[in-house]
Subunit: 417 residues, 2 copies
Amino acid sequence: MSLIVMKFGGSSVGTTERMGRVAQRIVDKKLQGDRVVVVVSAMGDTTDDLIDKANDINANPPAREMDMLLTTGEQISVALLAMAIHKLGHSAKSYTGWQAGIVTEPTHGKAKIADISPERIFSSLDEGHIVIVAGFQGRTEDGEITTLGRGGSDTTAVALAAALKADVCEIYTDVDGIYSTDPRVVKCARKLDEISYDEMLELAHLGAAVLHPRAVEYAKHYKVNLVVRSSFTNNEGTLVREEAQMEQGIVVRGIASEKNVARISVMGVEDVPGVLAKMFGALADHGIDVDIIVQSGVQDGKADFSFTVSMADRAKALDVLAGIKAQVPYRDTTYEEGLVKVSIVGAGMVSNPGVAAQMFEAISSVGVSIKMVSTSEIKVSCIIAAESVQEVIRALHTAYGLDTTDTAFVGGPSERR
Amino acid sequence: MSLIVMKFGGSSVGTTERMGRVAQRIVDKKLQGDRVVVVVSAMGDTTDDLIDKANDINANPPAREMDMLLTTGEQISVALLAMAIHKLGHSAKSYTGWQAGIVTEPTHGKAKIADISPERIFSSLDEGHIVIVAGFQGRTEDGEITTLGRGGSDTTAVALAAALKADVCEIYTDVDGIYSTDPRVVKCARKLDEISYDEMLELAHLGAAVLHPRAVEYAKHYKVNLVVRSSFTNNEGTLVREEAQMEQGIVVRGIASEKNVARISVMGVEDVPGVLAKMFGALADHGIDVDIIVQSGVQDGKADFSFTVSMADRAKALDVLAGIKAQVPYRDTTYEEGLVKVSIVGAGMVSNPGVAAQMFEAISSVGVSIKMVSTSEIKVSCIIAAESVQEVIRALHTAYGLDTTDTAFVGGPSERR
């Protein structure tokens, strides 16, 4: 008998009818003889509706009260899903985060899970119930209600799977697996059978919104076998695990892109020790998430450097920079909006030199100029203008031999390496 | 410095704008120097909407899951109200029932409060916060989420007032106090300055829906001073307390009516010991609330008796009677629907004989026949046909000198006694 954690996102339970289909799917799993723990998100637009309600009342609501408000969304889901399962003649018990023993750090809005006490879930399973746990939420040691932030339900599912030592954690979503790139952009995108945690992590961070990065980190840390699959079909999904099997000749596993990127450049910064720490420390203190940072060299004791932030943070970032000009002197700032980050990801890169050069070549071959570059062990990212993103991704997809038809491999990647 | 519990019902916080007005009202109280604990119900139709959602999924949902579902309504209210108070520049902390230390018996759907641990509320008050508690809900000792049933938020407020030893518990509602009868029926209905717990209890049970009977029982038991007042005006409300001051010459404090009553008569029941206990025990086991029971005598070892139930329970009650005919033999049953119970209530009745007779006289004076009668220390109830209820109430209101104009007292009640 296996112990399976199944996680369903908000769109999978967005309507009464979908809720019923999810219930049937859960019951089918139970009828296979498995012990089943289910994690659910808030239905459809519930969370956004609650946020709108809050903003109607207070444009700047306290984080503690937002957590009180938003956690109701998942509580509604778990109760209704339990009812749907009872309707099918099976018994289910729903639990909020605090009831399920999910203890978080004392932060509101994006708390990290500190501990899970799974006794109550185990005893419900022992009594033969299907257990349904509200995703995205927990409680602090002091009994305050917290949320795990966006994508938190994935994290709940993986953390529960780890605490329960589940055989597998299945993430049901509206796509049927992880693709080599967005199939809406590249028609011949291929569904991957397997992918490693690290690769998935890079893809997740890069805007492949299927799995939340924190959930993948958790899975990697606790070695939880993750399966990403569709809640609407019975297709096999993608298995995310420690060492994914490499397909012959495939160095790059996937291509991801992230929209709404802004570049900010700070020119003529005094090159004294600690200047970068002060500047990026100040940005971090204001909650601004800085992605790529590039510094090209020092001239006459002054440095120019550039970094990227989301377009939503651009104005705030410039304000912060203006505010610290007295402590961190610089000549000027410029910025550019409407950019996109395109990244290639693959654990095979480490042992295959020339992958980055091949990327630059593919991008220039479609006449697009690269504005910034950043590399890591298993990833190369380029910042380009938004309007070129689709043709760039298509070119990269072909260049790295990812196109799904067999003929795509003729004279494939090895030639280009 | 006083400690005040303020309770706001669902219609008082039904819209963003109303929520804002309630927040202002709470802040005003705090600015008077009081320590303020607020109890709120679910906004407007939230509870009914959630019930509809549940019924869409499962027409017969488990009570445990209904409690999980419905408690989200109040949790949304408390979070939003706390935000509205923050918006006014004051600090508020919201708490669910379990966070507020409200422990109930282990029953779902209509749990009774077993205990309240008010430490957390006290420490929030000590830190200078306004405390906002979700009404209608609690947790069992085992950590199951429970609800107190309809009207439960009143009970939460009174129970908290008792546990916190509050100076007063103010129930804000959409009427500005307790009236001698429904002002929509009798224009010259008078608002009462004071009323005793017992009188209020009779009125509450009799369909004067302003306060839930259980809340009044709680208030009586713990001697909590209750004030019923409007959330929309600053008018003084009605004080409910142990011994209400008697107005000169007023024996009957109020007149209440209850619609949708059905009478069931059971004829030719074997008059053996225990027969009534068996019959009404069976009805109670099926959750049928029997109100008035009348037995007129025994003839030839057989008895006829009649009782009233709500029209919604009528068919079920007849089914139960049919089901127990083997153990409790009787000849036949009849029933009548579309009845109303009209009651006069007043603590002064005890020492004023003839009050009942005066009631029968007033009813017959408008040509209405009485179908059943039931009396208690402070109440007389008559069952009449629904179509006559308004003229009967008006006649009784005048007969007992309750009309609000001064001239109503000319030749007032004493003459009629």
